[in-house]
């Protein structure tokens, strides 16, 4: 079946209220609501300064949520992103301390380091036949070990880096009423939009979703599943590498434990953003919103005077759970309504409609 034919039969493509859109809109609503609540609780919350802090801080989680979503879409997972961030940040910092190169070269170095590490994961998963969770659980430890051996316990010091590094986070493209639009944030947004486009419109992207919603069927249709999975891990590694660059630019001084624990945060952001852990459903924009939600909460909760900083994670756990339960309830509701619509169409019209309704019903279940 060609792509255009697939698009014509796809039952939900013509609908305005597709489940992804509803999920994204709901999350956007929740983010807006929490901002309003925080504005009441915290004096001077809605200031340019806070906006600037969130938009700079969210960049790393955004890139990692994107890296995570890319592999989760094909029903895999990458638990090694935190270690990849550490290795990329350290090696890039080391490279800059030695050569004093500019930002573009540094970004490329970080992404290549990430892509190489990602290709190790990809090789083992796609061609070695080892489940992704086992591979990346192993490389989570392994990459960290290699970094610790390489670093010999020494840190990359902020003082050794070229001066542009520590300014990088504050580069502002333009300012609207005290709200700075920072370069790093624009970069993250562009990455998300590019990936969203590629996954929604390009053949490569649709195939990734196809693998995730039914791996066996994808193989039987003749899709090059192994190479698609391999390249999605390489892409995920490159994104983690870019996040490593951002980490280095923000931290300045980098130890061998840099980025530890980020793997779980990236999974949390993707999942809150409506990316199904079972693969085949979710969007990059959703993952981005998930990252924004988690980061906004983290940065806001510490400023609520009534709440001690120690409440942060407890709240976060509850909110993640609430977001996922809401998502499931919402999806069930949509599926039920659509299958009811299909049934009605089947009853009111003749035989041709039966075929269409069947297609719609089938599409509905494949979506779930």
């Amino acid at each position: 079946m060609t792509e255009s034919a697939a698009a014509e039969v796809a039952p939900n493509s013509g609908r305005f209220l597709r489940p992804e859109r509803v999920k994204e809109a709901t999350l956007l609503g929740i983010i807006a609501l929490s901002v309003v609540v925080f504005a009441f609780l915290i004096d001077g919350y809605l200031s340019g300064r806070f906006f600037n802090r969130v938009t700079t801080s969210v960049v790393i989680v955004t890139l990692l949520a994107a890296a995570q979503a890319l592999v989760i879409f094909s029903r895999n997972i990458d638990l090694s992103v935190g270690s990849m961030v550490g290795v990329a940040a350290y090696l890039t910092g080391d490279f800059l301390a030695a050569t004093g190169q500019g930002p573009i070269v540094a970004m490329l170095v970080a992404m290549v380091v990430g892509a190489v590490l990602g290709s190790v994961n990809g090789l083992l998963v796609a061609f070695g036949g080892v489940p992704a969770i086992i591979v990346t659980l192993g490389t989570l430890a392994l990459f960290r070990t290699l970094l610790s051996i390489y670093s010999e316990g020494a840190n990359v010091l902020a003082g050794d880096l070229p001066p542009w590094v520590l300014e990088f986070n504050n580069v502002t493209l333009f300012t609207i009423a005290g709200f700075d639009v920072r370069l790093v944030f624009v970069m993250a947004v562009l990455v998300v939009l590019a990936l969203q486009f590629a996954l929604a419109r390009l053949r490569w992207g649709r195939r990734i979703y196809a693998i995730g919603s039914n791996p066996a069927a994808a193989v039987q249709t003749g899709l090059p599943t192994a190479s698609l999975i391999f390249w999605s891990f390489v892409g995920s590694g490159a994104l983690a590498g870019l996040a490593g660059f951002m980490f280095m630019a923000r931290a300045g001084t980098i130890s061998a434990t840099a980025g530890a624990g980020l793997e779980l945060e990236s999974v949390a952001a993707a999942v809150v953003g409506g990316v199904s852990i079972l693969g085949g459903s979710g969007t990059m924009v959703g993952a981005f919103l998930g990252a924004i939600f988690i980061d906004t909460l983290k940065l806001s909760l510490v400023r609520v005077p009534e709440v001690s900083e120690f409440w942060r994670d407890a709240f976060l756990g509850i909110l993640i759970l609430a977001a996922v339960i809401l998502d499931t309830l919402l999806r069930n509701r949509f599926n039920r309504r659509w299958s009811a619509e299909a049934r009605k169409a089947m009853e009111s019209t003749g035989r041709t409609a039966v075929g269409m309704a069947r297609a719609a019903g089938g599409g509905g279940t494949a979506d779930a």
């Binding site: 489940p131 086992i134 659980l137 610790s148 994670d313 976060l316």
Partner: protein, 328 residues
């Protein structure tokens, strides 16, 4: 013997690795085979090994529990907070702490079974949330000064030369072995792991089995948190952080399929011995903790990769091969 080896390919592989490790370790240190070292081996990671046993059930059942380390911290924090207030006798505080772990497991199990959510997601939220709860209770404090009997609970010998913690582990292990491989409940755990739909159509109460496993997981994690507190003599909000990865690694290394439905207690016990011995040996050779973890990561990947590749190259030979690792 050969028959056993072909039926238990995974276990045989682990046995070879384990024997090799022990040989290397013996050559490194003459004290290695001493009884004291054997006891130490377990006592120094008692909080991990008891959770490994229950995690085996959860993963064979086709689920996962990422929250165990946080529940360990949560239970220990509950106990420490009650005791530190001085209002509650210590033994009662321990009971309440372990109960808190059971409730943590119950809550997560309810969400998983009632809403049909993936356990990976729910227990990830649990990982963050219960760690948060532990931090809420203890903030930056470190609670110590426990009664003397508590701090010596692990080393004190109970029967002959065997200390309490070791007996606890081996009795628990024997019990788990019987339940998993010799009881109707254990059978159900395997069937659900293979196909929850088939299990449901066969009249197995899938939700109830899963719920009981998550309660067990929370309870044992709670107990592990208390034992950890006894071992180090102090409780902080960060107690046990990141242990979940170590625990899951040991289970998977034991040949339990991450997709559920297959695996054996024997494999997990061998994996457990192997990991403890490798860490012990690398420790004797003055190799630091991070590198030890890396070696175990390598072993984890290799243990799945090598048999896979071997099978790929043998594939030309037409032979029907069952790849089940579970008990026959």
């Amino acid at each position: 013997m050969r028959d056993w080896a072909s039926k238990h390919r995974w276990e045989s592989l682990l046995l070879v690795v384990l024997l090799a490790t022990i040989l290397v370790n013996v050559s490194l240190s003459p004290f290695y085979l001493g009884f004291g070292n054997f006891v130490n081996l377990f006592w120094l990671s008692i909080e991990k090994v008891i959770v490994v046993v229950v995690m085996t059930f959860v993963i064979i059942n086709g689920e996962i529990d990422l929250s165990v380390a946080s529940v360990m911290g949560f239970s220990a924090a509950v106990t420490a907070t009650l005791y530190d207030g001085g209002q509650v006798p210590f033994a009662l505080a321990i009971v309440i702490g372990i109960t808190a772990g059971a409730i943590a497991g119950l809550l997560q199990g309810l969400v998983i079974t009632r809403f049909g959510l993936p356990s990976l997601v729910v227990t990830l939220a649990g990982l963050i949330g219960f760690r948060g709860a532990a931090r809420v209770l203890l903030e930056d404090r470190s609670v110590g000064d426990f009664p003397e009997w508590f701090e010596s609970i692990g080393q004190r010998t109970l029967v002959g030369p065997f200390p309490v913690a070791l007996i606890l582990f081996f009795v628990g292990l024997a019990l788990a072995w019987v339940i998993l491989e010799r009881s109707a409940f254990g059978r159900k755990v395997y069937v659900i792991g293979n196909s929850a739909d088939v299990a449901r159509f066969s009249g197995i109460e899938v939700g109830s089995v899963k719920l009981r496993l998550f309660i067990a997981s929370g309870t044992v994690a709670g107990l592990a948190g208390i034992l950890f507190a006894a071992r180090v003599g102090a409780v902080q909000g960060t107690l046990g952080e990141t242990y979940e990865l170590d625990i899951i690694t040991m289970v998977l290394l034991g040949g339990v399929s991450i997709f559920g439905g297959s695996g054996s207690m024997l494999g997990v016990v061998l994996a457990l011995f192997t990991v403890l011995n490798i860490r012990n040996g690398l420790g004797l050779a003055n190799i630091d903790g991070i590198t030890q973890t890396g070696v175990i990561g390598l072993l984890l990947i290799g243990s799945v990769l090598v048999p896979n590749l071997a099978q790929k190259y043998r594939l030309r030979r037409p032979r029907a091969e069952a790849v089940a690792h579970g008990p026959p």
